[in-house]
């Protein structure tokens, strides 16, 4: 029952400080989530006017949504675009990451900067710069132009995440595999890919959700057929219906469940890896490592702490 000397005492200023920190943290989370919760709540609100107080619960907007042919067509179109773009971006981004990290070509820093630059380009700039080129080569805007635009910003993402992973991976594993007589393809399949697939999966999922709701680039590159965000954008600007709230809520729910499933898969695979690769825990501590190797951090962090009890 004696208070240990090294434990901080509960002085007034300390309590006030803790309260302030707690209040700040809470309000930031509230600020980040309130808008999302508001949209979800209003998708069930029985009124065409978006204001308080709530008029009552209804599923009308969801029914309208599923009866809206144009909206459904737009969703299907967006799915097609996202899948194609992610496929291209995954192959290209993965290949580039391998080239960069494993061969370290001359001027790889410059290549790295150029390759990742679309990630920090505003969508509008990417959109209009691609548009002028596409117009110049007389390519019609539509599916292919949207896919090009999306692949242009998803590829750097895949590249970035996979390259991060490859940099901390041990190249001697691959050399060992070759020494044991495995060919390059076998080595790639059994050593390189398993070591990076979590990063690849995370990048592909992030790319997929980004593509599904991209508007800034798509707006310029879409032809006559709108993707979901472009269609919704039109609805929002000219005559809005609460149906849009329902669409947003459904899509957000879908993205987040996808994220949760991906997180679970990554976590399970990282846990399995842990058994064989425990020596490999890097203290890099970057967030992306967490995203890709969720299971490493918390437990190890605890193990490393000297037990004070």
């Amino acid at each position: 029952m004696t208070r240990p000397a090294d434990r901080p005492r509960w002085t007034l200023s300390r309590v006030v400080g803790m309260l302030l920190i707690g209040l700040f943290t809470l309000s930031v989370y509230l600020f980040l989530y309130a808008p999302l919760i508001v949209t979800a709540l209003f998708s069930f609100n029985d009124s065409t006017v978006q204001t308080l107080p709530f008029a009552g619960f209804t599923l009308k907007w969801y029914q309208d949504l599923f009866a809206d042919e144009q909206m459904l067509t737009a969703i299907a179109y967006s799915l097609q675009v996202a899948l194609t773009a992610v496929l291209i971006a995954s192959v290209a981004g993965f290949t580039f990451a391998l080239i960069q990290v494993r061969t370290k070509p001359k001027g790889h820093r410059v290549l790295d900067a150029l390759l990742t630059s679309p990630m920090v380009t505003p969508g509008m700039v990417l959109g209009i710069s691609l548009l002028v080129v596409i117009r110049a080569v007389n390519m019609p805007t539509g599916f292919s132009s949207i896919v090009i635009g999306h692949a242009a910003f998803i590829t750097p993402l895949v590249y970035f995440l996979v390259a991060q992973r490859l940099r901390v991976a041990d190249p001697t594993l691959e050399q060992a595999s070759m020494d044991c007589g495995a060919g390059p393809i076998k080595t790639f399949w059994h050593v390189t890919l398993p070591g990076t697939r979590t990063a690849l999966l995370a990048a592909a999922l992030l790319g997929f959700t980004l593509s599904m709701d991209e508007i800034a680039v798509t707006f310029f590159l879409a032809g006559t057929q709108p993707t979901l965000p472009v269609y919704v954008w039109g609805l929002l600007r000219f005559g809005f219906t609460p149906e849009v709230n329902a669409a947003f809520t459904l899509i957000a729910g879908l993205s987040l469940s996808l994220l949760a499933v991906a997180g679970l898969v990554l976590w399970l695979s990282a846990r399995r890896h842990r058994v064989t690769l425990t020596e490999h825990v890097d203290d890099d501590g970057s967030l992306w490592d967490f995203v890709t190797d969720t299971a490493y951090e918390p437990e190890d962090a605890e193990e490393l702490q000297p037990s004070t009890m």
Partner: protein, 300 residues
Amino acid sequence: MATIDLTSDGLDTSSVVADKPARRRYVAVIPMIVWIVILVALPNIYLLVYSFWKSSLGTVDHTFTLENYKTLLGSDVFKLLFRRTLTIALVSSLLATAIAYAMAYIVVRRFGRYKLLAALLILIPLWVSYLMRIFAWKIILGDNGILKGIAKTLGLGESFTSAFLYSQNSVILTLTYVAIPYAFLSVYTTLDRIPSYLLEASADCGASAWTTFRKVVWPLSRPGAAIGFGIAFVLTFGDYVTPAMVGGLSGTMLGSLVLQYFGIANNWPMGAAVGITIILTGLIVLAVVSLFSRLEAPLD
């Protein structure tokens, strides 16, 4: 297709065997260079070239002229929009970086083993539709919005709500909201890398919490804050979705101008010129930021 197969095959072998001939390495780089040229270099260069052409009666006149830039620099509307866009982007990225920094500091130092969960919770909004997040602010701030409803029940005057309705403030608020997760990601990764023994050592040497922050934590995390600010600035400076959604007339930004030139006005060269000014401003800010992002001494 054949060339791509060939090079990717070359990549696999050179990836595993260190002593391949140097020539193979150069071959492996070719697909990357092709990609960069087609999707990064060419579009930007062509946009620059485009901005030196002129639109006459809907067609583009392919002779070099500085007229677009002269028109822009002589236009009061452009100057006003430029100043406003700069202010909005600076204020909202500064706000976002400050909030993200404080939040990242609290998460890293106070959340213990739950810090990754806490960090992930801040990043999750990035997975939720961009349009939805902005539109949600329209529901909150807009005509007959929630804010107005709350203000009415509390008996606050019109002046309170009109400050946040279709104005510059509503754009700043929304862009700050959008930028926080990006800034947080950048700050968090640098703060999390600072080993706690450095802080303990500083405290053992008798430094107060504030001195430790000023002399140890801030110098080591400044690069993260600077890069976070840079990314936030570039992304907010070129935005046109937010001003269109919550800005109204007084919240119009340069991005809205580009949209107009590429759309209704059908004057692509002029739009390209505005686009180039946006790119240049972003590059200048990034260059300034990179001066601040250098560490005084390496961490290890």
